[in-house]
């Protein structure tokens, strides 16, 4: 019963935040913060549940009985990890928007909370129609965030983001309806429920085409080369809070969709398709690392590194063994934190010096040492330093992928080297060297204050925890991943609904 409340809380909280603007411009952010803290606490209360007994929380109620569509939500360890990440990064996003968003604050926090409501719905929906519903719901408020509070080229970026994801989403809708139709042909009744659709038998050809519809929908969101084109624009033009949610959470919905739906629903077609997907992943890793290195715009650079890192996730997912999947999940979590932190830093820099151009920066360490230290930490985390979360994720993903495809894994591993090149280049460019005194007054570059430091420290703690004791995360996702590998929705144990 708790899951619908998790979503309703965000929807209602969004409306409240908007309405509270009449009391003053600072009220919406307070309301939004309170709502997200409450959300995080509610999610944390699920942590105590037994992972071996199927879903941690489930809710099922008829919605559109004519087509067998129900409000079926369910949360397991994998969903819970991503939901916790969502709520946590939501709070970080508010922290980042705290000083940056000063106009129309009510509508901003309304959109932020509604985006997160869509994401929570995506991570917890088990009915595919419901899943698609939330998949699209999260787009509109995100469009508004980019189009209203974005930077110089915001309309172009917002439109591109919307059209890319919407068109691929429609292809996915056709695929969802198609699989439901084949369920109808086989069983004689309509159902969009994941548990029912797992049992559909399809001919080889049909399975492949429907799988492709799902893959396209998720690959655009992920994104994977060659569908990554919208991302650098959207990330660089969005306000920092938008970039944090985009990179930290929205990209993960694509990866989640692959793990939860695309591969388990179409195991045979996915196995055939795996070499193609893994090749695309390897190209994403190397090509986008290379392109990232050529960027002068700090946020574009981070955006390309996101594509590169998400390549490890795709690689791990299509290797489809437990090690690789664990690696993919860890990478999703760790990249969520590190990318969010880097975007927050880029936003903080832009807020201070009004440019994202790396060539207009230099020598910042001397004037803003705390900022430099944080940038250093998260760059090193992103490049995969052992002891931090990203290393665990990418290492496990490569280890698992090596069992599936040695050549592509070896090629992909070079991505780690490229990552250190561009990460260190950013630090060297922005924080070392000569301060551009001619164009910049050092007084415009105040160091991070305590409130900001609190957010960064929370993310530092998360990454160190993931790196030093990853077991606490692996334990949560392991039952889900084992069940998925066996072609089931939940581990078959007494009391759990049999798929």
């Amino acid at each position: 019963m708790i899951v619908p409340w998790l979503i309703a809380l965000l929807f209602v909280g969004g409306l409240l935040a908007w309405a509270s603007e009449r009391f003053g411009a600072e009220w919406p952010r307070r309301v939004a913060l309170a709502v997200l803290v409450l959300e995080l606490l509610l999610l944390a209360s699920l942590l105590g549940g037994s992972l071996q007994a199927g879903w941690l929380a489930e809710f099922n109620h008829a919605w559109l009985p004519r087509f067998g569509i129900s409000l079926h939500f369910a949360v397991d360890g994998l969903s819970l990890l991503l939901l916790l990440l969502t709520a946590f990064l939501g709070i970080v996003a508010i922290g980042s928007a705290w000083a940056e968003i000063t106009e129309r604050t009510g509508f901003f926090y309304f959109n932020l909370l509604w985006t997160l409501a869509g994401v929570v719905g995506v991570f917890s929906a088990i009915d595919l129609f419901l899943f698609f519903f939330f998949w699209e719901v999260m787009l509109i408020p995100m469009y508004f965030i980019i189009a209203i509070w974005g930077h110089e080229n915001k309309f172009y970026a917002a439109k591109k983001f919307f059209i890319f994801t919407q068109v691929s989403g429609l292809l996915m809708l056709v695929a969802i309806v198609a699989i439901a139709w084949f369920h109808y042909l086989q069983f004689g009744f309509f159902s969009f429920d994941y548990l029912d659709l797992l049992e559909v038998d399809m001919s080889r050809n049909v399975e492949f085409w429907i799988m492709l519809g799902f893959f396209l929908g998720f690959a655009v969101k992920l994104p994977s080369v060659p569908f990554h084109n919208w991302l650098p624009d959207a990330h660089s033009q969005a306000p920092s809070a938008g970039s944090i949610i985009l990179a930290g959470v929205l990209l993960k919905t694509g990866a989640y969709g692959l793990v939860r739906f695309a591969v388990p629903l179409f195991p045979n077609a996915s196995a055939e398709f795996a070499p193609v997907a893994m090749t695309l992943a390897a190209i994403s890793i190397l090509y986008c690392a290379k392109v990232a290195f050529a960027q002068a715009d700090l946020k574009r650079l981070i955006a390309y590194t996101s594509v590169s890192h998400m390549g490890f996730v795709t690689l791990g997912i299509y290797a489809w063994n437990e090690l690789a999947l664990q690696g993919a999940v860890m990478t999703m979590l760790a990249h969520g934190l590190s990318a969010a932190a880097l975007f927050m830093l880029a936003g903080a820099l832009q807020h201070r010096i009004h440019t994202r151009d790396l060539f207009a920066m230099g020598g910042f360490w001397r004037h803003a040492p705390r900022m430099g230290a944080m940038a250093m930490f998260f760059s090193i985390a992103a490049l995969g330093m052992p002891g931090l979360g990203n290393f665990v994720g990418e290492f496990l993903a490569l280890l698992g992928a090596f069992q599936a495809n040695q050549v592509l894994t070896i090629v992909s591993a070079f991505g780690l080297i490229f990552a250190s090149v561009y990460s260190l280049w950013v630090i060297q460019r922005a924080f070392h060297g000569k301060f551009p005194e001619a164009s910049l007054d050092p007084g415009r570059l105040p160091d991070l204050d305590r409130r900001e430091m609190a957010y960064y420290f929370a993310m530092v703690a998360g990454l160190v925890w993931m790196g030093v004791y990853p077991q606490s995360f692996l334990d949560l996702s392991a039952p889900t991943l084992q069940a998925l590998l066996e072609g089931q929705a939940v581990l078959a144990t007494p009391g759990a609904p049999q798929p």
Binding site: A62, W63, L64, P65, R66, F67, R104, F129, F132, F133, E136, V137, L139, I140, Y143, F144, A147, I148, F155, A158, K159, F162, I163, Q166, V167, L170, L171, L173, V174, V177, A178, W181
Partner: protein, 491 residues
Amino acid sequence: MMHAEEYAITAADLLLLMPLLVVTATSIWVMMAIGVRRNYSFALVSTVAGLLLGALATVPLLLSLSPGVGHSLFTIDVDGHALFFTALICLTAAGASLVAHDYWLEFDDHREEFLLLLLLATVGAIVLAGASHFVSLLLGLEILGMSLYGMLAYPVHGQRRAHGEALESAVKYLILSGVSSAILLFGIALVYAQTGSLAFHGLESLPNGADSGLSVLALLLICSGMAFKLSLVPFHLWTPDVYQGSPAPATAYLATVGKVAAFAVLLRLLLETRAMGLVSVVTTLSVLATVSIVAGNLLALLQDNLKRVLAYSSIAHMGYLLIALIAGFHSQGSLSIEAAAFYLLAYAIMTLGAFGVIAQLSSDASERDDIAGYQGLFWRRPWLAAAFTAMLLSLAGIPLTAGFIGKFYLVLAGVESGLWLLLGALVVGSGIGLYYYLRIVYRMLLPEPADASPLRGGATGLAMLLVLFAALIVLGVWPAWVMEAISNIAL
């Protein structure tokens, strides 16, 4: 089919025709009221009450019908299909008369006759919803068309603006509509020549096979005539000009009731009679659908005039709707009729809403139909802009709105019949469509211009728009009850 000479109307038959009779009586009532004493508010209240009563009268009839059973009254069928579309037409017409209220406030000529024309047009539309015979088809089309000419040219006698545009659009519509009726009649004549019957059932006995040449020609002529009414490419050329030139309330009526009635009769004509075993007809319709979707969306990209954008988008939407119709040939399932019915319901709400916003901000003296004129609307009129945004997103098929459920229905009908190419066109068309819908939304989000002209608007139209807004969201989030209702209207 019964023959006229042995036909006697009974009281039970009159009961079945109650919605039509109520609306006809309302038009006479309003005409007499105008004759006694002109009072716009009284005429408006009478019109809306009569139309709502007409919609209400369908409810007991719908409940008394068992699914799949209908009554045949000479040239009009009263079945679930007819009653559903009658109710939809009455409600949409009531909505159209309400959103028109603020538009005519300062009009310096008699305003009441607009409502009279609107009621008469609705009578024609109701006849179309139940038509099962080419005579009632033509009668319905002409009653609807004749009244529409008057509505399109309505501001001509006002003094506040040079009304050449309205006259131009009415004459354009008159001439092209006449031509299309002639084409339709020729097709009907060919059908009659081969079957000796003017009832839709007669189509079933059309020869098909080796000597099907004339049958195909007849059906293609009939489809062309209807394609004009639905403004499918390449019969669409009148649409943008007429939409742009005519007063916004008339456009709203033409774009909603006019399209719904024409599509309702086309559905019955082509699906009920199962006359479309002819591959060439299905192929032609598929081509019309694809071309309408692609061309409608592409041409909408080039427009700066809001009414022209919506005109081209309505062309594309009629193309989407044809997918449901074509699906009906392939699968013979009732899903295609459900899909078309729900989509038309959603289409009526969102189109009426979009034109309603324009009507709300325009008057007979100046139409606010330049997209630039909507800059900053979000911050100047938040509720109006929110309603408009919802209508546009619904036209684009985004969840939380009725348009999404409608699109879902179309995809379902298409998948059921394996129409992959048409679904591909739907996906591509929707992608292009987003571009111009978002352009309008973005315009409203921009800061308001410094030299912004004051915005018009009154409470009546806004209230009606908010009702449409609410209906759009309710149908988008909880459409289960409508789905159950329309699952019983199979032909």
